[in-house]
Structure formats: C-alpha cells, structure tokens
C-alpha cells in the first residue's frame, strides 16, 4: 500500500504540472499535437527516472559525507546535464531507433525544471533509493498524463478555433484550459 500511495500520490495528487506547477513550459510548448506530446512524455519518464537515481547516488555518496549538501542544486544541474548528454551520445550509437523516436526532446529536457524538481523533492522527503525511483516514475507519469490530456483538449479546440473570441485565441485559451485542468486535479487532494 505504501508503494501504491507513493506512486499515485506523485502522479495524481501532487501532479508535477497541475499541483506543483513545475515544467509548465514544455506543458504549453509541446502539447499542440498528440504525437509530439506522447514523445515528450516518454522522454520525460526516461530522463527523470535516470536523473533521479543518479542524483540520489551523488547526494548520498558525495555531498552528504562531505557535509556540503547546500550545494545540492548546483551538483544536480551538473549531474542531470551530463547524464542526458551521455545518454544521448550512447543511444545514438547503440539504439538509433529509440534515439529517433525520442528525437529533439532529449536535449530539450536537460534544462527542464521538472527533472531538477523531482531530484530535489526526493532528497527533501528523505526517500530511500527504491522509494525515490518509484516517486520519480510516478511524477513523470503524472507529467505525461497531464500532457496527453491537455494535447487532446487542444486538438479539439484547434478544430473549433472559429468559435473562440479573437482575444482568447491561441495561448490565452490554453492558459485558461490549463487552469481549469489544475482545478479538476485538485479533486484528487486528500484521497490518500
């Protein structure tokens, strides 16, 4: 039950986009088409899982023994950037098919604040290694869920663009929709 709560708590109750408001930039940027939203979601799950396990190792292996945990944010940025770069290079050589399907999203995610946010949250909550992995996958799945729901809504809205008042077309309506989605996700509050 603990793992269940951890996973779905991170995915639905504390949704990274709609409850914590991290990673809003890619949420608005790549949600205009369902295909790109799916690609981005998968890439985020992949990178967050990898980056959070690496940052956990760096935090408890290097920073804490030396008593310099105040440097965690800086060290995490370094680790995430390096890991994503490394994975991109290796993947291009060994799994070209996977590299092509994730495409441009991999380097984009390097500077995504959701990735850094998960790493910091893992440490702040005092999670163990496996706990932080489950929490990371849950959070990333929540990001993908929000992204795909939003992309579906935006595709519908693009078809009905003629009926939208001119001042609200495009980004304004997207922001209103995102706000309403965040309200809807508040309904998950308190179920665990």
């Amino acid at each position: 039950m603990h793992w269940f709560e951890l996973f779905f708590g991170a995915m639905l109750v504390n949704n990274i986009v709609l409850a914590r408001f991290l990673g809003v930039c890619p949420f608005l940027g790549v949600s205009s088409r369902m295909g790109t939203a799916r690609g981005m979601g998968l890439a985020v799950i992949f990178v967050i899982t990898l980056a959070s396990s690496m940052t956990w190792l760096v935090y408890y292996g290097i920073l804490e023994p030396l008593g310099i945990t105040y440097l965690s944010t800086m060290a995490f940025i370094l680790v995430i950037a390096a890991v994503v770069q490394f994975v991109e290079i290796v993947m291009k050589k060994l799994w070209p098919a996977l590299y092509r399907s994730l495409g441009i999203f991999l380097p984009l995610i390097t500077t995504n604040c959701a990735v850094l946010g998960v790493a910091v949250l893992n440490v702040r909550e005092g999670f163990g290694f496996v706990e932080s992995l489950v929490h990371s996958v849950g959070t990333a799945s929540g990001f993908m869920l929000a992204l795909i729901l939003f992309a579906g809504l935006r595709e519908r809205m693009a078809e009905a663009a003629h009926d939208v008042p001119e001042a609200l077309r495009g980004l304004p309506l997207s922001l209103v929709t995102a706000g309403l989605m965040a309200l809807a996700f508040m309904g998950f509050q308190g179920i665990f």
Partner: protein, 275 residues
C-alpha cells in the same frame, strides 16, 4: 579551510569526471555521418513541409544521401533543386514540372443554393458528416470553412466570398491542402496548364442544374471542340491533360456554364482575360 576545500574538490571533481566521460563517449560512440547528408541538406529549402513524403528536410536529406529516395521529390525546390541534388549525388536528374493547387469550385454561398442553414462548428470535416454532406445543396462543392488553410505552411490559401482561393505566387505545390480537403475539391495541376476545370460536380446535367447555376453539366462540348484531344469526359466531368493542351481557349468559349477557366499561364498564351 575545509569548508572551502571540500566543495571545490567535490564539484570540481564531478565536473572533471563528467567532462572526461563525455569526451571519451563522444570519441568511443561517434556515429560516422555521410558528408553527402550535410551537402544535400544545405541545398534543401528547409520548410519541413513534408511534401516529399518524409518527416522533414533532414530525414529526406538522409534518404537521398543513402540513395533510398529520388532527387526530384521536393516540390518546393522544383526542377532546379532536383538537378542540384542530382549533381551532388552524381546521378541524372529526373525533372518534374512544378505544380500548383487548383480549386474545382467557384460558386460562393451567396450565388449557390444552400440546402439548410448551418450553425455548427465552422470546420469542413465536421460539416461533411451531416446529411447531404454539408449545408451546400451541391454535395461536391467547396464549403468555404477553410479547413485546408491551416494545412498550407506557405499561406497560399484564403477564403473569398465563401470559396477557397489559391495564391499561385505563394503555392509551392506540396499538395497538403489536397489531403486536408474532405470533399476532394482541390487538385494539383501543372503550373503551365493554360485552362482548368472549376467544378467538381460529377452528377448528370439536370441534377447539377438544380443545385448550382455555374456547375458543369457534363455536356461534353469542350471535349468535342478540343483539337489537341486534351480533354476527355470521365464521370460527367472533363479531364484536362495539361501536357496536350495548347491553350487555344476554344473550350472556355464553348462551355455553356463557363466551368472551364483560363489560368494565369493560359492568359499569356491566348491573350484572353483569365482569372
């Protein structure tokens, strides 16, 4: 001193380790790139319109360089580009004539007959699922809601008086709009074709008369007067072969409903007033 030393060693060490790892990886896992890919990509227009059938210019360049795709698939660059690409690849260019989109309808909502008043979503794809295929009495006509407009990456389409109009200067001939139109009103014609058909109604004359004053009634006069044998009647509509048409303009004169119109290319040939 320790409070200064440890952070420096830890972060500096991390940075150094990652730097070495990355430089090692970029050597070890380097993917050889064909220099032809870059050469081909540099020649392509970079519009990423997808008209070649690939996802974008980068992917098309890779396929051309690998010899998997023909050099003449980019309609934006046209024959010139095909020749340049063929020079890079060391093959003969198969030149392809540039095409433009043509609208097979010209009857606006004001002049045409409406079967009923439509107040739904202003989208052709939504309207075509309704009885009769939309509010227009003619079930072959352009609905004029402009579903094809966002499909055009070059801004060549616009709605004028309820009918789609193609700007021939902006159209690059990618054919995306043809795919987007649920009614099949748009077609691609060679840019040099002197005349074009401006009606899409494949019904018999009487039925066409009931729904549109300007629709092709399928009389076949155009095919009869054409001396170059460029017009053939198929499905109650004339099919114009652009490679045979000499631009004499007889079909335009004879057509009782003026459903065949002169294109800008034809204007030069015949000197007649066109669109």
């Amino acid at each position: 001193m320790e409070s200064l030393l440890y952070p420096m060693i830890a972060l500096g060490g991390l940075g150094l380790a990652f730097g070495l790892l990355l430089s090692f990886a970029s050597r070890k896992f380097a993917v050889p790139v064909d220099p032809k890919v870059a050469a081909v990509r540099a020649l392509l227009p970079g519009a990423n319109c997808g008209a070649c059938g690939f996802e974008g210019c980068d992917i098309y360049a890779e396929n051309v360089a690998a010899g998997k795709a023909e050099t003449n698939r980019c309609p934006v660059g046209g024959g010139e580009l095909a020749a340049a690409l063929a020079a890079v690849m060391g093959t003969e260019a198969e030149v392809q004539e540039k095409k433009v989109a043509s609208v097979r309808c010209r009857t606006s909502c004001e002049r045409g007959i409406e079967a009923y008043i439509y107040q739904g979503i202003r989208d052709c794809r939504k309207a075509t699922v309704l009885p009769g295929g939309g509010p227009n009495a003619c079930s072959y006509s352009c609905l004029g809601f402009g579903t094809c407009i966002p499909a055009c990456a070059f801004g060549a389409l616009s709605v004028q008086d309820g009918v789609i109009v193609v700007d021939r200067h902006l159209c690059v001939g990618c054919g995306k709009c043809v795919e987007a139109c649920p009614r099949g009103v748009l077609e691609m014609i060679p840019v040099s074709q002197p005349v074009r058909l401006a009606c899409n109604n494949a019904d018999k004359g009487v039925q066409v008369r009931e729904v549109c004053p300007e629709g092709c009634i399928g009389c076949g006069l155009c095919a009869k007067v054409c001396e170059a044998k460029a017009i053939e009647m198929r499905n109650n509509l004339p099919v114009i072969d652009g490679s045979l048409c000499v631009g004499c303009g007889k079909c335009v004169e004879k057509c009782p409903v003026k459903a065949i119109v002169v294109t800008p290319a034809g204007e030069e040939k015949t000197g007649a007033g066109g669109e």
